[in-house]
Subunit: 325 residues, 2 copies
């Protein structure tokens, strides 16, 4: 394999936020949508996610589901034993959990081999919790998922440096790639900030008191990712994501270290070293995306050194076409 040219920052953005935009070409956008089914919950008109045609064809259609091939809709309509629609969130969740467990055991989808036994929330048009869904199943239905990402940095005489972990070689997704200082998914019922404090302790052994007192919320990163082989499992699955962004300026004497088996180690890298690793494609795509946001916010990437400044700034904050929290 020949030497690859370094990735530009726009290349990195295109790798993470890679579902087409209507405004870039209505025809391409509409043609892409023809490959997907709309995932809906009975009683709600709002599409909750996009399901690939392949997945829609493979999902078993039980009494709790309708697949409408002409309208390209996959509708979850949970029923009780008498065949009547169930009324409560708990009943819906139980039926969905049982269904996904059965799908998992039948080994229909490889993504379910990465079963997490962790529930992710799915929200409706009025921010109401509509469903809890097993984390590994969320890309099958293309629902929005939520996470926290923290950049831990140190101001040194040589300029800003960033604490950068390498992902464990045994991780199901993106093994060995470089990551943000701390990052994790938000389970149902968990507040973003509490999730962050927990992940900082688990992943990087950062004391909760430091995080609570010194961390700064800086906005959200939103993008619409379509999964490729590096994510593991089926490709083409939709992964629209919201990441709550946090900065932590760290005292020089605080050294993060892996507290669980997520990371191999942490390196304190200069901005130039981080940018080089990004250009070489060594970062997990959404982590490179987050670092671009960090670099723009800290005046490292500017309109003077980045020709695609305006485009990149928008692409870091995509307005998703599904309801969110």
């Amino acid at each position: 394999m020949g030497q690859k040219r370094p990735r530009t920052n726009l290349d990195l953005v295109n790798e993470c936020d890679n579902f087409p935009y209507y405004s870039d070409g209505p025809e391409v956008y509409k043609a892409t949508l023809q490959d997907y089914y709309h995932f809906l919950l009975e009683g709600y008109e709002t599409c909750l996610g996009y399901v690939t045609s392949t997945v829609a064809a493979q999902l078993p259609i039980t009494q709790h589901w309708t697949r409408d091939d002409s309208k390209r809709r996959l509708i979850f309509q949970p029923r009780d034993d008498s065949g009547a629609p169930v009324q409560t969130l708990e009943e819906r969740n139980n039926i969905l959990a049982e269904y996904l467990q059965d799908v998992r055991e039948r080994k229909i989808f490889r993504v379910l081999d990465g079963w997490r036994a962790e529930l992710y929330p799915v929200y409706g048009p009025n921010k109401e919790l509509l469903l809890n869904m097993e984390r590994s199943a969320s890309p099958l239905f293309g629902v929005v998922t939520y996470g926290v990402h923290l950049t831990g940095y140190v101001r040194t005489d040589e300029g800003m440096k960033i604490w950068t972990p390498r992902r464990s070689l045994t991780k199901q997704t993106y093994p060995g790639m470089m990551d943000n200082t701390v990052a994790g998914g938000i389970s149902t019922g968990e507040r973003p900030f509490e999730c962050l404090v927990r992940e900082c302790e688990e992943e990087a052994s950062l004391p909760a008191e430091l995080v609570r007192s010194a961390v700064k919320a800086c906005g959200t990163l939103t993008y619409f990712h379509v999964r490729d082989a590096r994510a593991g499992g089926e490709t083409g699955l939709c992964q629209p994501e919201v990441q709550y962004i946090y900065d932590l300026e760290m005292p020089p004497d605080v050294i993060p270290s892996p507290g669980d088996d997520e990371a191999i180690d942490f390196q304190l890298l200069t901005v130039q070293e981080v940018q080089k690793a990004m250009a070489d494609g060594r970062f997990k795509p959404n982590c490179a995306h987050l670092l671009l946001e960090f670099f723009i916010r800290h005046g490292i990437l500017t309109e003077e050194n980045e020709p695609e400044y305006i485009e990149i700034s928008s692409r870091l904050h995509r307005k998703l076409e599904f309801p969110t929290a």
Copy 2:
């Protein structure tokens, strides 16, 4: 007139970024587009802006223009005296300038009463400069315009305070409303940072050395505004804008003061005072929009105190449907 309820932050966003989104409702979006003509330059397929039907019908159609009512396109096709297409940017600009001067003298559009004798750039699909256009005419053609906005703040014992000017009562647009510390439009040929340094000196008497050494570039604010009566002139005109965002942490002893006739005065307001004035609708809409971005970036607005955090974060960084710089 009864007491108005305070505006929410999402209300403020909706006031500034008020052109519909395709993803919020394709039918509404398409119906809205039916009210507009696409502004094109001959030889380029990319739409450069949206022109209201009323404006399209009133613009004189000379040998340099084609109005296609069936395709709803308004095409600028500058011709030389022999009727052949002109070849250079300079010739195009001269023809456009002469045309707009004529339209101005015929008093067809009220927005041209605010003639600025200042040229704004219009870019093509490859970021090439396609046209220079008189500033006051840009909303007639709905082309993207560019500006710089700076938030000057001071860290005090009582918390962060923000230097806030009130616009002159004699300004053509948004007289008497509150504004960002420094803000201005970028003319053709001017770099954003140099524009900022100039405006800081002109509008707020801030020394260039301070600005050059202490200012921080923090990204872009992008939105698609449709003008109402407060902007002066015709309503319904499209104003898609890119604002380059800068922060300036100011020493307590630097006091901004009006250097030209743009502002009445500057007040140093607490964050709470600024938020109250925003809720009361006292800020120029795009300046309130910019302050929301500032508050998110500085951890003042968070997911814990702002229910529309995700939506607002996206709406501050709209991906525009026209080419940009």
